[in-house]
Symmetry: D2
Subunit: 149 residues, 4 copies
């Protein structure tokens, strides 16, 4: 079955899985794909000893990377490849060794070739860890290699 | 010799080395400290296979993490601990497998308990990879454990 | 009745009205206070001929100013004065001559002396005009002059 | 002489003047164009009584609007129309009644259809008031109406 025959949710999942399979950075951290739909994605990550400082607090770059992966899966969920132009993160509560973080990305706008996405990062106890907002730009091609053929 | 007897540059270097020694996330990526002065720091990182996607382009989270480490070393360079409140990154050119990235952080303002830092990330060929701006907030204590004692 | 005797909502409204009465910039634009509660505020503005360009599109600074006023009313709603440290805006749809814009500010976090607020700006037809996120910092004193006395 | 015959600096000045002549918002505030070159612009504004609060401090929206105008003149300086996608501002020092603010915009990147610009806002005494960074996106057409004809 070609990619163009997939329904919205199945296409979003196929795109996210394809991206994750090619993304050694996300996989080497241990980022797991929890779900994907058009304009939406959820990923998770357990904070391990190589992600924290001497006070057992996660590096801000780890939290950012998790949110950025959710952003990528959400903005590529329609088999149209998008690249990040700009992203901002506000840190709210610390993530600590052993915490499982959840990042959930939601499209706020997709117009012409640009989009805006909001990503929230929370801990297992429901506390907010960070708020991330990303702006993306659509480039040519498809996310799935065989898409459209 | 206690930390308080160190001069500005030596204190900045001692603070950065102390932070890096406690920061498993930066060390596990391979981030190297290239220099530190009051309000300034430079770090470097070689992009390896676990940092790229299937097109050999570095994950945006890796570039962010490098810039964030430079930010941390610069804003903690006076032995006063600061935490990041907010950071923004604009992506300019891709970083690729094998590139050595340099992130240089410069204080733009430090007033009361808050500061603003600009970080530029460049490739070995001098091309701009990303522009990062961070806002930090000073907390109590010292960066060096024995400082002031 | 002193300010400290006011309930949450009444205190938020008193703070917002006090700020607006002192804020010649918001008043000269025509910004109207639509409501205030603890951590929340809503303001509105009709786009007039002095706010647009030759294509009848509102200046980005007007949209920002409206969102910034909502942010100020929300983050000062507990009679503790806060100043903006940083703000970001993403533009989604144009605002045009004659449009009535609504900006609604919601607290996402308030911890220690810093807070994060999300502000959405919409047109009368419900379309999203802009997304604004602000970081604030609490200073000493009170919003209401006689508060606490 | 048609617009396409103008040299870089003259074209930048013609574009900025054309934009300012159509921009009732900037003109009604009193924003003055101080200079324009390809990828660069400088504007100024005197803070008047309708721009400040009860403590004689300029509204953050006024500072933002000034920076945003400099951004617009710089990113439209090559007669290719650009619109703002996203902007961030960090507030450093207050601007007060009577201050003359200068906003200077410098292109940091212009690639494909997107660009990144840094704008600094300073007071007459040289103190930094704010740092602004904007991301823009090129649309079709020209800035000068008769350009290319």
């Amino acid at each position: 079955m070609s990619a163009v025959e997939l329904s919205g949710d199945a296409l979003a999942q196929a795109c996210a899985q394809a991206l994750l399979s090619r993304d050694a950075a996300s996989r080497s951290l241990g980022i797991a794909l929890e779900g994907a739909r058009p304009g939406w994605a959820r990923v998770s990550l357990r904070i391990t000893e190589t992600m924290v400082n001497g006070h057992a607090i996660a590096h801000g770059g780890v939290t950012f990377t998790l949110a950025d992966s959710a952003f990528a899966f959400a903005c590529n969920s329609r088999n149209e490849p998008n690249v990040a132009l700009q992203a901002s993160i506000s840190y709210i509560n610390a993530a600590r060794l052993g915490d499982v973080l959840i990042a959930e990305a939601q499209e706020r706008s997709s117009k012409g070739r640009t989009g805006v996405y909001d990503i929230t990062v929370t801990r297992g106890d429901g506390e907010l860890v960070a708020l991330f907002r990303g702006v993306c730009y659509r480039i040519k091609g498809t996310v799935l290699e065989g898409a459209g053929t």
